[in-house]
Symmetry: C2
Subunit: 676 residues, 2 copies
């Protein structure tokens, strides 16, 4: 389609295309096809519908844009550049996919303020979008007042065939339909091509019908390549349907404009190559140099700056009046947005003594959650259909349902992976919500990709994971975690906490809240997994919230240098405590250390760590009902790790613990074997 003159829209749309083509070409790496095909819908969306301020990516009431098909990252970077975001320059675009550039291969929210979420792994972005739309509905129901629509924005997601095949997306979208999230609009880049070729190879379901079955409103744009008006009309219609999320199936051609590679997987994930780049320039009548944007197009795109200033300015004016009339609500909203902690909040955390009755740490978790949710309205969450087992219901907070979005108990259904990804959305909404989600620890396996993304994208999610070992008993090996705690400890930037009793559970929540607010680790927000027991545990002497803050601390000691150090976590710490009593009774000097959180411990200075685990004391025993893999770090060459390296068994919990060696006698025996 070589045309002498292009319309302004075509210039604007081709600006997106060629920024993507040229950046990928320069990097000799990347995905040009999606940006080329999705450029028209993106133009219509960003130029005509989205309300945002390029000069203030953090403006609270902005519309959110999520690129679920994250490999199309150059699409997003092009849009950020063209509309005038400060932090994305043409030099950044030229450094696409290079060391330390702001334009990494897949969009990373921590590299670029204009990027809301980190995507790449398919299906995550649309599920994040469900979470962000849930946040909007919740905050609107909570904070808006008559005449003051403080929270009133849309969540737009561009997703592709891959996202639509992924189970995590199915889970989240089923929930979105149930909740009637009317301000969630997904544009499905329906190009019929995936990496292995035509979608006819593996994906022939009726996607529209499936989404209607979920309770979504479904529209189709037959020609998403050239019919701008149809795209415009569809988005208008989508916005007008307020009680259902909308999917707009936009038929596009992957790699549109490339004469030889369009409509084939060859346009998907590799640079077009110099010859094809040239051919595409000719085909689309684009006579500009690489990275050169026609003045008219840039000027038109950059009207977003003025529009954005007005959107935000008007909102600021409204917010100022709101703040006058509703100072308390405004104060809460601002405190949340600034990630500040309410005054004296730690005082609500339950404290325990050994005289308090033995309780499962999952029960104590429920108490901590309930206490905290009274002072943190930003706490919102739930379970994947195990609320009573996970103890995650907040009494009196109501169920979050269609038309009841002010409530805080989320009912995720049996959808662990969707739940995790939704929570990433809730956390990264930008309003300061702290989401928590729960299931049995063993089912972190279902949602590991979402947990990892929490860590990578600095999403302050609290993962409440109960039934954390073979001690759960009769449900048997499919349900008994073995490798899970240590395998989660390996995920960078994730806190993993395994409290022994009530004080430590309260301490775990204190750390988790602070981590979610970015109050630790050099102000980097971190997610936390809290592993909790099914069965009752005694409250131990000397446990404390303060101890937990340091990750590992001394519970009891003998005078002078210890002969041996016993280290425990969670339900096994009590075995160390009792074994120490026995050994001291036989004249040994024993130190007991609670190793509740390795990451916090490693974050302490060398002097503290040495004071807890002196290098010179080589005789050590660790006790944790999980794999021994990795404990060598703390037990060393001369120590012994008591653990379980096989699958578990179906039998009552106490029987399992005894059969697998988690007894005081066994700890004493192992200790003596190295004491000599």
């Amino acid at each position: 389609m070589a045309v002498a003159t292009q319309s302004l829209e075509e210039l604007c749309i081709n600006s997106i295309r060629f920024l993507a083509i040229d950046a990928v070409e320069k990097a000799k790496s990347g995905h040009p096809g999606l940006p080329m095909g999705a450029a028209p819908m993106s133009f219509v969306l960003w130029d005509r519908f989205m309300r945002f301020n390029p000069k203030n990516p953090a403006w609270l009431n902005r519309d959110r844009f999520l690129l679920s098909a994250g490999h199309g990252s150059m699409l997003q970077y092009a849009l950020l550049y063209l509309t005038g975001y400060e932090d994305l320059t043409m030099d950044d675009i030229k450094q696409f996919r290079q060391w330390e550039s702001k334009t990494p291969g897949h969009p990373e929210n921590f590299m670029n303020p204009g990027v809301e979420i980190t995507t790449g792994p398919l299906g995550q972005g649309i599920a994040n979008g469900v979470g962000i739309a849930m946040a909007e509905a919740h905050l609107a129901a909570t904070f808006n007042k008559p005449g003051f629509p403080i929270i009133d924005h849309y969540t737009y997601v561009i997703m592709g065939d891959g996202c639509n095949m992924e189970g995590v997306a199915s889970e989240a979208c089923s929930l979105a339909g149930h909740l009637g999230l009317g301000k969630l609009i997904a544009l499905y880049d329906d190009n019929h091509i995936s990496i292995e070729g035509s979608t006819d190879l593996a994906f022939t379901e009726d996607v529209g019908k499936r989404y209607e079955a979920y309770g979504w409103h479904v529209l189709v744009v037959e020609d998403g390549n050239t019919n701008i008006d149809a795209i415009h009309q569809a988005i208008e219609t989508a916005k007008s349907v307020t009680d259902k999320p909308t999917m707009i199936k936009v038929h596009t051609t992957i790699g549109y404009g490339s004469p030889n590679k369009a409509n084939s997987y060859e346009a998907h994930g590799a640079a077009l190559g110099a010859a094809e780049v040239q051919a595409t320039r000719e085909s689309l009548g684009w006579n500009y140099e690489p990275f050169e944007i026609p003045e008219d197009a840039l000027k038109h795109w950059r009207k977003a700056i003025e529009r954005g200033a007005k959107y935000e300015g008007d909102w600021n004016e409204m917010y100022a009046r709101y703040k006058e009339q509703y100072p308390q609500e405004a104060a809460t909203l601002e405190r949340m947005h600034e990630a500040e902690l309410p005054q004296g909040w730690e005082s609500v955390l339950p404290k325990y003594t050994p005289e308090d009755k033995a309780e499962a740490t999952r029960v104590q978790s429920g108490k901590a959650l309930n206490a905290l949710s009274a002072v943190f309205p930003e706490l919102i969450g739930g379970s994947a259909d195990l609320a009573s087992s996970n103890n995650t219901l907040i009494k009196g907070a109501g169920d979050y349902q269609k038309g009841q979005y002010q409530n805080r108990n989320l009912r995720f259904g049996v959808r662990e992976h969707g739940m995790g990804a939704i929570c990433n959305g809730l956390a990264l909404d930008g309003s300061g919500l702290i989401p928590y989600c729960a299931t049995f620890l063993v089912f972190t396996d279902y949602m590991r990709a979402a947990i990892r993304l929490s860590a990578l994208s600095e999403a302050g999610v609290i993962y409440v994971m109960t039934h954390d070992s073979i001690q759960l008993g009769e449900d048997g090996p499919t349900h008994q975690p073995i490798e899970h705690v240590n395998s989660l400890r390996m995920i960078p930037d994730l806190l993993v906490m395994r409290p022994a009793d009530g004080n430590e559970t309260s301490g775990a929540y204190k750390a988790a809240i602070e981590a979610a607010k970015g109050k630790k680790f050099g102000h980097k927000v971190r997610p936390t997994v809290i592993a909790l027991s099914r069965l009752a545990q005694p409250n131990l002497p000397n446990t404390s919230i303060e101890g937990v803050e340091k990750g590992a601390y001394i519970l009891s000691d003998s005078d002078g240098t210890p002969d041996i150090i016993l280290m425990g976590t969670g339900s096994e710490t009590q075995l160390c405590v009792k074994a120490a009593e026995q050994l001291r009774g036989e004249g040994k000097k024993v130190r007991v250390v609670s190793m509740v959180c390795w990451e916090l411990f490693q974050d302490q200075d060398e002097a503290y760590r040495e004071s807890v685990l002196p290098k010179a004391v080589k005789k050590r025993v660790s006790v944790e009902a999980g794999v021994t893999f990795g404990w060598c770090r703390y037990v060393g060459d001369e120590g012994v790790a008591i653990g379980i390296d096989t699958f578990g068994a179906s039998a009552p919990g106490p029987v399992c613990m005894e059969k697998f060696g988690f007894t005081v006698d066994n700890v004493v025996a192992k200790a003596k074997s190295i004491l000599g």
Copy 2:
């Protein structure tokens, strides 16, 4: 419904119910609700439709029954007992959920020959069922001849609301619809209740419409509690539709018969309690003692024995004639079924020398796969839409599609978790197929639950995982594995192999095939993960298939006791080889060890392991582009692990490797730092 006399059907159905009720009550643990509600459909299925021989659970052409709602395990145990399976006695039932019983909390295939697959984690069973139905179609297309329907059976799955919420099930069922698997019949125990209460809380989609969108045939039985004829009719109709899988939505009442707990979550996951057990006996007119089955019912149920003997007898007679006419096909079928290896099979594995060109191990994996698939018709598999990146296409083997089930290239689409669970089904079908599946190593996170179940249920699946480190480069941190290899090593009973070059890749496949056939580890079948590089690696001197069999082996050595040992895996082994040359040039005695598979190494005797890594040699350096967590096991207190403990970055692969310290210089420097 207290009736003086019950019909024979009612007696049979209530036999199921009360075995479940009484076993759960005795164990004071378990899930009575589903067995009580699903008893009628199970009676109709097992008594009137399923073709199986209780005295030979391994009969090749049996119908397969899968309980995807695995928590309802007492349903399955009751059916196995009532129909006369040898290995499940009344004593076994009385030991439900007790240490070392054959009736664990969730069905375990390795505990009980009548159980086809291990379930419990929701959504897995129905996905396994898709795999088993795929196996049936493949084997029928491959082995049947005119007049000889050797393979001709149905796959029946009972699934619940939870399974229908899970993404893994969505993925597998979308593929099942695409493939038109007409002999897959799912009975959906549609009881409107999950653990948190009514499904109205979170799950209000139109399930039937969704399955129609997938291309399934959907039927409804309005009264699944009492209308036996309707259930019967539905199964008949389902069987008659041969070009689509069928879902029968059977409306039931969870805990049917319990006056106070029926139709509530209270019947779901806890013993009814003595009072309610008694009330249920009265309500259903059941005047038998716990574990007492009325004679008439048992006699009727046990007709399955005679029927089964006839089914198998007739089949044996047909098979004998088939074998005469088609000896070659029969020989292959038998070899596969016996898990035997074809004569001289190892000779097809490619061998390499350092003069051969450098290639990515993913390329060498493709060569090994193609070579092996020529002698192993049982090898069948594919990728989650990354076939050309994973190098998993078998040339000339054709795409497995509707009507083309004889082909062996499976096109899973972007459905990693479904793919893994489907492969578990293919592996556990009982016919001896060896499935392989592939994606990027980082996306094992999406399918970890299925990988774990492969290990637990002894399913010989080969997981081909490419792009195994930061060396993959520009796709960046969302795609770069960091913790993945070590986190997989922690899963019990899973082989994890990271070959350095072509010989080691061939060795990895040799080990994987043998593990899948149960030729190692005391004849226990094991799954294998093979981690492969994206970029080219040189073929190293002294690598060998034989070395890989031992898990770790010496690549090069100096005379006498080493001063230091350098250990590497995969793409980093070459760094050890080159660093050793440098250090030897400076007079050091250096041993280089390839640590390709920790599990195989640990399986060697102490003497061998000591010969490779002598305890006395404490100066050690490990090099692997993954977390250091866990390497302390081999580097010890005095060694150094070179690894990466942070997320990666988007930049070209060689840049990433250099920036993160994977260079010969760094290995030499670390070695010198401990050599002193």
